[in-house]
């Protein structure tokens, strides 16, 4: 399994009635990596994961999961993965401990020591009935069940949206640990700090299509760096440099953003004017995010069926 991808999706299409939820989506998750899966609400993240789980049937395209067909070999493949849904709904009459055991056993068994450790680290009371759990506690139940299972792949759909920062860092420790043991993770998330902290590669999707994929470094390269400089004299020729945006000149001070590929030329122009002080900031993931789908948020896309 070391060479082939763990998840391989090509030109995946899935429609709900007239709404095309996935419109030729590509996704490639390699063994041993934590792959961030980003996109605005309704972009098709959950739909993709549900196709990968064989809950939804694809309309067209190729989907391979752990080398198998997720629709026809669902049960066999599911032994090798654990899934945490974005909205964890539990049976009100079962206790958290019962649900952990139920899901774990259905996957083919739990690591008892890790189960006990996780319950303690997540500060979960497993004897409480699920109806009395908060959203965060329901999520913990699903996370404990997933992280205590012996699997190769974790499919996590916004798993930390209800957790407090302390629990979030516990979660991150365990996901790191899972990767160190050789596991692969597909992590859909809105918490950019989490993605930056955990992910080796990310895919950004929008309106059912993958618009960007690569390591964070590669993606940064495609975006703009913001520059603020104090110069010996007034800058000249900056507006002639391609890729410079939002230029503001105030006496000897210049502020602008520049496409990262043109950074060298822009700094060259500044250098000619004589640099007194210079701050430059690489794009944050947030800027990356907003650049890719800032306008999509205003379009207010249709709700995903989840």
């Amino acid at each position: 399994m070391t060479d082939t991808s763990v998840i391989e999706v090509n030109a995946l299409v899935k429609s709900f009635g007239a709404h095309r939820a996935l419109d030729g989506l590509d996704l490639d998750v390699r063994p041993g990596e934590i792959h961030g899966f980003l996109g605005p609400n309704g972009a098709g993240k959950s739909t993709t994961i549900r196709v990968l789980l064989g809950l939804l049937r694809k309309d067209s395209g190729d989907v391979r999961l752990l080398g198998g067909d997720p629709w026809h070999e669902a049960a066999e493949l599911h032994r090798r993965l654990a899934y945490v849904p974005g909205e964890v709904n539990l049976w009100p009459g079962l206790t958290g401990g019962e649900v952990i055991d139920l899901l774990g056993r259905l996957r083919g068994g739990l690591d008892e020591a890790r189960r006990a450790e996780l319950v303690e680290r997540f500060e979960l009371d497993p004897t409480k009935k699920s109806r009395s759990y908060s959203k965060g506690n329901r999520q913990k139940v699903a996370l404990v069940a997933a992280l205590a299972s012996d699997v190769e792949l974790l499919l996590l759909d916004e798993p930390t949206s209800g957790l407090d920062p302390i629990m979030e860092s516990v979660f991150q420790d365990y996901v790191d640990d899972f990767r160190d043991r050789g596991g692969t993770v597909l992590l859909s998330s809105h918490i950019l700090a989490e993605v930056e902290r955990l992910c080796d590669r990310v895919s950004i999707i929008r309106s059912g299509r993958c618009v960007e994929t690569g390591t964070l470094g590669e993606l940064r390269h495609l975006t703009r760096t913001s520059v603020m400089a104090e110069l010996a004299g007034p800058p000249t020729g900056l507006d002639g440099v391609p890729g410079v945006h939002g230029l503001q000149v105030d006496g000897n001070r210049a502020m602008f953003e520049v496409d990262t590929v043109e950074l060298d030329r822009a700094i060259g122009v500044l250098h000619e004017a004589g640099i007194v002080s210079l701050t430059s900031q690489p794009p944050t993931l947030e800027e990356l995010f907003l650049r890719h789908y800032g306008d999509a948020i205003e379009e207010s896309p249709e709700d995903e069926t989840s």
């Binding site: 899934y83 709904n89 009459g93 079962l94 401990g97 019962e98 055991d101 139920l102 004897t127």
Partner: protein, 523 residues
């Protein structure tokens, strides 16, 4: 107390339809008794004879209340309706109080309100006031419907006042329960148990130990003796008990913390039992509450019908209509009567079968199956677990209904062989009941959005049973109902062919539904 009246107004607006239906239902319960007795007997002598046979039937007395003046319409109305009316008022009060107290607190909505500029107790006080208004409304409609019938003014009024006071009392009990428990479910459980106990105490008391009836608020209501020497003083007992219950609730309310109950929520097991991860074990765990509840209810229903014993003839009176209703099949009247009652029980049991067959749909709607199907559990096995519970549960529900009928009959007549006579006939309707469940399953598999339509199938079968003759329904339309084909035991002999055919159709529909589910998207 700031804001109390705004809450009362808001609650009444939220509950107005609910209150109307409960009140109309209660009024209908009383009024319909008057209508059904009136004119059933051709002469007063017939009426006297029927009354005498009812009076001597201990099963009847246990079910309804002390037998007084049963040869009058008013006496019959009181006897047949008072206990059930009190239960109705109790249930209405319980749901109403639960909705506005424990459920609000559990969901956290109440927190938002309490943080606003309102008095600490205002939601609780407003809830009791709303319940009081609801019960006045219910009692008022009962009294009005009887006065309008027309029955005697004072006695009709007493029936209305009494049922409203019972409602007050149970509202108080519900308020106490809302303080003691920490979940809505537990609160309903506790209040329901008190209502059940009040009913049971008077049942045992009325049959032979009058002291016990005096320990039950429902007993006090019936001790007012409407239409048979009305006396008002037992109503005072109800007033005092209601005040005591409300005062107790208030005292506990002031002493407890927000969100908590006096009785802590019972912790459950921290680990799952061995069977939970088996599809059947899981389905059973999720459905066992309804299965047990329905089994108990159907058993009691069976006992209720069974205790009519052989009195059927005198109960029905001499009116030709009544006899025609049951003797269509030409058998002996008692057999014909029980054949119809058994069919009726089977139709009621279909309620369980359909709701159980729709349980997978409920699980899907609640978003609880994606985690499950994300494991190595196969769709087929998950659904089969639920199918197994539906089929076995339906069998159980019908079986205990038949046993209940036999037991009730044997209790009254001393004829132990009745058990055989009624168990098999009840079970003989199993294929028809399961066919309705299979329709529900097929809809769940093919068009889950329309799954609720399976209830219409039951309504249709019911209409065919009750009104086919009156509406002059064409035969082919009647034949759509599976129950039209199965033998009406014990009036008719068992027939293998329709039994096997209906079973086969049910199986085909069920399997088709399961296959359809395996091929469709899961929500």
């Amino acid at each position: 107390m700031t804001g109390t009246w705004s809450f009362v107004r808001a609650y009444l607006r939220r509950d107005r339809w609910l209150l109307l239906w409960w009140s109309l239902g209660a009024a209908l319960l009383y009024w319909s008794q008057a209508v059904s007795v009136d004119g059933l007997y051709e002469s007063q002598a017939d009426f006297d004879r029927a009354a005498a046979s009812m009076e001597s039937n201990a099963g009847f007395v246990a079910m309804t209340g002390p037998a007084r003046a049963l040869n009058t319409i008013g006496g019959q109305v009181t006897w047949q309706s008072a206990a059930f009316g009190a239960i109705l008022a109790g249930l209405m009060s319980m749901f109403l109080v639960g909705r506005h107290t424990r459920a609000e607190e559990e969901s956290g909505r109440d927190e938002m309100l309490r943080a606003a500029a309102v008095g600490r107790q205002s939601t609780t006080v407003a809830t009791f006031l709303t319940a009081a208004i609801a019960n006045v409304c219910l009692g008022g409609l009962v009294a009005l419907s009887l006065i309008a019938y027309p029955l005697e003014l004072a006695d009709s009024l007493a029936l209305g006042v009494g049922v409203a006071l019972c409602g007050f009392f149970f509202s108080g009990v519900a308020l106490v329960a809302a303080q003691l428990t920490s979940t809505t479910r537990a609160m309903y459980g506790l209040t329901g148990a008190v209502i059940g106990l009040a009913y049971a105490l008077r049942a045992i008391g009325d049959v032979g130990t009058p002291a016990l009836s005096w320990m039950s608020p429902i007993g006090w209501y019936q001790a007012m003796h409407p239409f048979s020497g009305l006396r008002w003083w037992p109503a005072l007992l109800l007033v005092v008990a209601s005040v005591a219950a409300v005062a107790a609730a208030y005292a506990v309310f002031l002493r407890r913390d927000y969100g908590s109950g006096v009785l802590a929520a019972r912790p459950g097991p921290g680990r799952a039992g061995a069977r939970l991860a088996h599809p059947v074990g899981l389905a059973w765990r999720l459905q066992r509450g309804p299965v047990i509840g329905w089994a108990v209810g159907m058993f009691l229903g069976g006992v209720g019908y069974g205790t009519l014993g052989d009195d059927v003839e005198s109960l029905l009176g001499d009116s030709d209509l009544a006899k025609d209703m049951f003797a269509q099949s030409g058998g002996a009247l008692v057999d014909a009567f029980y054949a119809t009652m058994i069919l009726m029980l089977a139709m009621i049991g279909s309620g369980f079968a359909i709701s159980s067959a729709l349980r997978p749909h409920g699980e899907e709607e609640a978003g609880r199956i994606e985690s499950l199907l994300g494991t190595a559990l196969r769709r087929r096995d998950w659904l089969l677990g639920h199918v197994a519970v539906t089929v076995a549960g339906t069998g159980l529900v019908l079986l205990v209904a038949g046993i209940g009928m036999g037991v009730g009959y044997a209790l009254v007549t001393g004829d132990g062989s009745a058990l055989d006579d009624y168990v098999l006939p009840t079970l003989s309707h199993l294929p028809g009941v399961l066919l309705l469940a299979a329709v529900a399953r097929l809809l769940f598999g093919l068009v889950p959005r329309a799954a609720f339509l399976s209830w219409l199938a039951l309504v249709f079968c019911f209409v065919v049973m009750m009104f086919a003759e009156i509406f002059r329904m064409p035969q082919w339309l009647q034949d759509v109902s599976p129950f039209e084909h199965l033998a009406l035991m014990p009036a008719e002999d068992f027939r293998w062919l329709p039994f096997a055919l209906v079973s086969a159709v049910a199986s085909v529909l069920s399997v088709a539904g399961q296959i359809a589910f395996r091929r469709r998207d899961v929500r």
